[in-house]
């Protein structure tokens, strides 16, 4: 059933592929005229047609759950390539599957950091539960299991993804419960990301199309709530400590390099106070926090501009009296130019 089979001899030599040469399964949904229309839409996005090949292979997977022989042929025909040329590309990339994928693709990160934090134990447990190894599908066709290389979510480790949506900070028990729910037909909400669909739906998105029937569902996917603790860890700590970036110069101040004419043509509103900043300031005011008010009162509007200009090392004292004990609610905006750099926290410029 593999579109791109290896041979027994090849597998013995390389250890890379021993998939048998089997015809496509009978119950595979066909590629239709609509598939071709969409393939041509993809081609039209690019100045050179062949750039469409990767999205087109995602499109094939969105119909059939893997890169089928029929899908390879379709890409070859539409792009004027040989099937061998298309196959050479499809076999290079991990996300193009060579055998039909289960309804959901469960990927467990077993790269170093996730592995030491429990990722390998999770992989072993799921493998035992499902009775499959890496890149195999459970007998009921519900789950294809794979171990994944680093998924760029190390601050949420160890991570498991289902159809590439993230389930963060997993352990053996939570991951087993997740997979059990998937096998029952449930779709637990990812920690971050949109409500779960399935492998084919996500493949459609990767081809550059919406996987949702209507705009409301698409918007809901974009705006889906999630838990973003590690992403916001530094921002929240900065708010807690009353630390911020040096202020950009306001419009009332002379430009730093006034001799350069470009400075004089800047629109006057570009560094002004904005509704967002005002809202953030209002949130701070609403926090009713005397320590914060004291900190804000002591910070002169010009202080930020002095940041990094050789202030004495004593300026690094973190127990300074200007330290607010508590700041705005976590997650509140504190951008550059909010003018709340607290005295005693502006560091000296490091000697280059």
């Amino acid at each position: 059933m593999s579109a791109l089979p290896g041979s027994m001899e090849g597998a013995l030599t390389t250890g890379l592929d021993d998939s048998p040469v089997l015809p496509a399964p009978a119950d595979l949904p066909p590629l239709t005229e609509q598939t071709r229309i969409e393939a041509r839409e993809i081609i039209a996005r690019y100045p050179v047609a062949r750039s469409a090949l990767l999205p087109m292979l995602h499109l094939v997977q969105s119909y059939q759950g893997y890169v089928s022989p029929e899908g390879v042929a379709l890409c070859a025909e539409e792009l004027g390539l040989t099937k061998a040329e298309v196959g050479a590309v499809a076999t290079f990339y991990t996300m193009y599957k060579r055998r039909p994928t289960g309804r959901h693709l469960v990927s467990v990160c077993t790269n170093t950091l996730c592995a030491v934090l429990g990722g390998q134990r999770i992989m072993d447990a799921l493998s035992a539960d499902l009775g499959v190894h890496h890149d195999e599908t459970s007998a009921d066709g519900s789950i294809t299991l794979e171990h994944a290389e680093c998924l760029a979510a190390c601050d949420y480790a160890p991570v498991v993804t289902v159809d590439y949506e993230f389930y963060d900070q997993q352990d053996v028990e939570s991951a087993r419960a997740l997979v059990q729910a998937l096998r029952r037909g449930d779709k637990p909400h990812p920690t971050r990301g949109a409500p779960l669909t399935d492998f084919r739906g996500v493949s459609r998105q990767l081809a550059g199309f919406s996987q949702h029937a209507d705009e409301a569902a698409a918007a809901a996917a974009v705006d889906a709530p999630g838990e973003y603790g590690p992403t916001l860890a530094g921002l929240r700590l900065a708010a807690e400590r009353g630390e911020s970036a040096p202020e950009m110069q306001g419009p009332e101040q002379p430009p730093a390099d006034a001799e350069e004419p470009r400075e004089t043509v800047r629109p006057s509103g570009d560094t002004g106070e904005t509704p967002g900043k005002e809202a953030a300031d209002a949130r701070v005011a609403a926090a009713d926090n005397p320590a914060e008010e004291a900190g804000a009162a002591q910070s002169h509007p010009d202080k930020g501009a002095e940041y990094g200009r050789g202030r004495p090392a004593g300026g690094l004292d973190r127990s300074g009296t200007g330290t607010p004990a508590q700041s705005e609610p976590a997650g509140g905006y504190q951008g550059p130019g909010t003018g709340r750099t607290v005295e005693g926290r502006t560091p000296p410029k490091r000697k280059g």
């Binding site: 100045p47 050179v48 990767l54 999205p55 995602h58 050479a88 590309v89 990339y93 991990t94 996300m95 990927s107 170093t112 950091l113 592995a115 030491v116 994944a148 290389e149 680093c150 998924l151 760029a152 979510a153 190390c154 601050d155 993804t161 590439y164 971050r192 081809a207 550059g208 973003y228 590690p230 992403t231 860890a233 530094g234 921002l235 900065a238 708010a239 630390e243 911020s244 970036a245 040096p246 950009m248 430009p255 800047r266 629109p267 570009d270 560094t271 904005t274 967002g276 900043k277 940041y307 200009r309 976590a330 997650g331 509140g332 905006y333 504190q334 951008g335 550059p336 560091p347 490091r350």
Partner: protein, 442 residues
Amino acid sequence: MPLTPVLTSRWGADQSWRLSTYESMDGYAALRTALSMSPDELVTSVKDSGLRGRGGAGFPTGMKWSFIPQPKPGETPTGPAALPKYLVVNADEGEPGTCKDLPLMMADPHSLIEGVIISAYAIRSHLAVIYVRGEAVHAHRRLMNAVGEAYAAGYLGRDILGSGYDLELIVHAGAGAYICGEETALLDSLEGYRGQPRLKPPFPAVAGLYGAPTVINNVETLASVPFVVRGGAEWFKAFGPEKSPGPKIYSLSGRVVRPGQYEAPMGTTMRELLEMAGGVRPGHELKFWTPGGSSTPYFTPEHLDVPLDFDSVAAAGSMLGTTALMVFDETDSIVEATLRFTQFYAHESCGKCTPCREGTYWLVQILQRLVDGQGTAQDLDLLVDTCDNILGRSFCALGDGATSCISSSLKYFKDDYVALLPPEEQARLGRSLRLEPVGAAS
């Protein structure tokens, strides 16, 4: 150093990924400024800011832009100058430990798009492509939505904000290949081929995408550009050391109390960052860490005070890379960690260059038998020898990166390797090892 949220400053806002939020927080203000400047002025401004590439190599961004051949006034352009120019965004984040670009695109995709428009304008490009890692469907979704919003608002497409400048922006999903984070492999992949690196020269600035002049920049680099434009070069240079300035997103992960993204000036030390992240988990101590992902040589507790900027980290024997700070404690085996990383490189080697393709395969075999307690005294020499035959002998940096964790772990933690050898092999070590046993010399 204090925390200095700049790139991350909008991340906590309600629906920070939406255009309306972005516009209410100075969003696209820098674009208006930029479009009132000439492209050459923008290049100069970014050069003056000292901004260096955030994808790992640290190449000066303005200088990279200035390498694009541009038609000379009054002359009919010939050669590369006559071809279209392209801007390609490397959003194929996948270096183990690295997790800064995906959160940026999740939380604040418009900051990247604004940076793309300004940068494309600066190099006189009318087509930009964001190559997003395929597995990053969550970031891809937000980015697709944001690009749609930007087109609808007139920030992309024809005659942007009435300036007469046109730019089309394509979001292109990859398909799971670490090598495509290498810029020339990325170009091959974007052209619809297997992602394999190209021989340089010619460099992409002369012959890149479709053989035309191309700038390839990292997500964090481009997201920094609007702040350079809005704050000015002097403001930007106030962060950190003179030769590698700017705010930087440091990603802490592993055995720390509060893993996450911490934005601070370039040159912040690991000691300071660890303190921000609540330190190593209680009851344990730091054993080893990476300053910038798995391709950068390990650091140890003795490097806690190295300023984490490009030059200081290089002087201390590693690389700043992507400031992916993976933290390991005394319960973690350095040899097993190194084996895992090496398995990763063996899996991700594209196969083009023999030293990398074969060498990473054999490194895994050697490390595996060491971890299994079946190593020999010669294996440590063999590791060094194999690394010597990979380093500098392949097209791209993947092979070089594969040797970093092995060479540096042998340098700092040879005792840990020796401890895994059977007793009779340990006894033979003194005579066979090229390297002096740790603690025996000086």
